[in-house]
């Protein structure tokens, strides 16, 4: 392979992060692997920019932020959107980062299946289709002999799926217990340090852009539950789907409970537990100073293994370039094996 043509689906914060990361890393990738990567198509929810000779990464970001849609990209803007983009351009890898949809996993599911059927590799940061249709997607990728990579779907920049599968490949992973949602960790950390109530702290997080206007996916544990499903399937090899997860969020946590915990040497964290016995997201007590004691929007996970005992990984769980970093790692893995 001398050239790798990318299609980017979804051009919000993560999609733009991927474009910036490609701009930053493409020379280095060319030096190391001798492969020239270029973005040949990018789609947002209603339009796209397509040029088989490659699009300018910075102009893509500028067009989206200044004109609102990629259809306004000079000369190469089009009204083609969604899955149709994949029929209108020659490409090698689909980088998919559309918003997570936990109702039916779309459009991510259709996009991935379409790319597989075209014999293309897929890198995704999306959780919805993985949480609902993991087995279907995994089988479709295998049947078409293509690679399906989703490191960015769990823990953002924090290495976990590839870490467990590659770096710890000599081990059997027995369980994974961790803090896999940065928003709730931020809220609980602030409630601990400030003694503030849940509603006030949520409001503050929304003002800072850490919690979304509709915070349900984060605070009710839905986001963490999707990650539990992905880890169960991909790392533990235990088939599971979203409905198998026992979920309790943080909206009922009082500042008094946090104070009680603190006085007794504990912290309250939203913990995700993945083991053959339990698939669970719930507020739990963790010891102060233990590896679970991370504050702010950080994520962490402790993997219990048969040979290496416990191994812990920590990193930034969200963010534009941080999530893009995990997707770039997946892309490079694909490039190395082709």
């Amino acid at each position: 392979m001398e050239e790798c043509k990318l299609v980017l689906m979804g051009f919000g914060s993560v999609g733009q992060g991927v474009a910036k990361a490609v701009a930053m890393q493409k020379e280095k990738i060319n030096d190391k692997l001798g492969i020239n990567i270029k973005i040949v198509a990018v789609a947002d929810s209603s339009s796209s920019a397509i040029n088989p000779d490659g699009l300018d990464e910075h102009l893509l970001v500028e067009t989206k932020n200044e004109k609102g849609k990629l259809g306004e990209y000079p000369e190469f803007g089009t009204d083609i959107s969604g899955v149709d983009v994949l029929d209108n351009v020659e490409y090698d890898v689909l980088m998919e980062q559309t918003p997570t949809n936990i109702d039916d996993g779309e459009p991510a599911r259709t996009l991935a299946l379409k790319a597989f059927s075209q014999g293309k590799d897929v890198v995704t940061s999306n959780k919805g289709h993985l949480a609902l249709n993991y087995q279907e997607l995994d089988e479709a990728a295998k049947a078409n002999n293509v690679m399906f990579k989703f490191e960015a779907s769990v823990g953002g920049a924090m290495p976990i799926i590839n870490y467990a599968r590659d770096a710890l490949s000599g081990n059997k992973i027995i369980s994974i217990i961790g803090v896999l949602n940065g928003t709730t960790n931020y809220i609980l950390s602030r409630m601990t340090s400030e003694g503030s109530s849940y509603p006030d702290t949520l409001k503050e997080s929304q003002l800072l852009g850490i919690a979304e206007t509709n915070p349900t996916q984060d605070v009710e544990g839905i986001d963490a539950a999707c990650k539990a499903v992905i880890l169960s399937n991909s790392v533990l090899g235990v088939p599971a789907t979203y409905n198998d997860v026992e979920v309790e969020g943080i909206s009922n946590i009082t500042s008094e409970a946090i104070k009680l915990a603190k006085e007794n040497g504990y912290l309250i964290k939203l913990i995700t537990e993945v083991s053959p016995k339990a698939l669970k997201v719930s507020p739990r007590l963790v010891k102060q100073g233990s590896s679970y004691d991370i504050s702010g929007t950080l994520n962490m996970a402790t993997l219990k293994t048969d040979l290496a005992d416990e191994v812990t990984t920590v990193g930034k769980g969200a963010g534009s370039l941080e999530t893009a970093s995990a997707m770039m790692t997946d892309l490079i893995t694909i490039l190395r094996t082709k």
């Binding site: 008094e256 007794n264 007590l285």
Partner: protein, 161 residues
């Protein structure tokens, strides 16, 4: 042979001596002792670490003697014999009969509630931290019981990892 023990003693005069006196009486030797009076655990007791030397029979007799004297042995040769875990309940903890909650946990074999801390505040729910001591291996049984009671009484339970 040598044996390492971690015992718990009360912070009252004469306690340490009463723990040490059976050692010589039962034919064992005291090799080392670590006693820090200002380090107390959540029960208000002081953990004392001792290393003793002697024949196996003498050492085992000594352990039996400590049991007889009601002295709690937390660890034996670095093996933890008792463990302590905490859980927080949020909701109408008092109104749903907190006495009954404690009694039902205490009914389990090898499980004891050793601490209870309740905060009643301006918020509409109260919060309670329950500290439970259990024999090794009984932790999950204790957590399961707490979960069962919490579901029945509509309380949010926050168990230790």
């Amino acid at each position: 042979m040598r044996m390492n023990l971690v015992l718990e003693i009360k912070d009252v005069p004469g306690q340490l001596v009463s723990v040490l006196s059976p050692i010589g009486d039962l034919g064992a030797n005291l090799v080392a002792i670590i006693h820090q009076r200002d380090v107390k655990n959540e029960k208000g007791l002081i953990p004392v670490q001792i290393t003793i030397e002697g024949e196996r029979e003498n050492l085992n007799a000594l352990v039996d003697k400590f049991d007889e004297m009601g002295i709690n042995i937390l660890e034996k040769d670095d093996v933890i014999l008792k463990q302590r875990v905490s859980t927080v309940l949020i909701g109408d903890v008092i109104d749903t009969d907190v006495r009954d909650t404690i009694d039902r946990i205490n009914e389990l074999d090898g499980v004891w509630v050793v601490g209870l801390d309740i905060k009643l505040d301006k918020e509409y729910k109260s919060s309670a931290m329950i500290t439970i001591e259990s024999n090794i291996g009984q932790k999950e049984t204790a957590f399961k019981k707490v979960q069962e009671i919490a579901e029945e009484k509509d309380l949010l339970v926050i168990n230790e990892v």
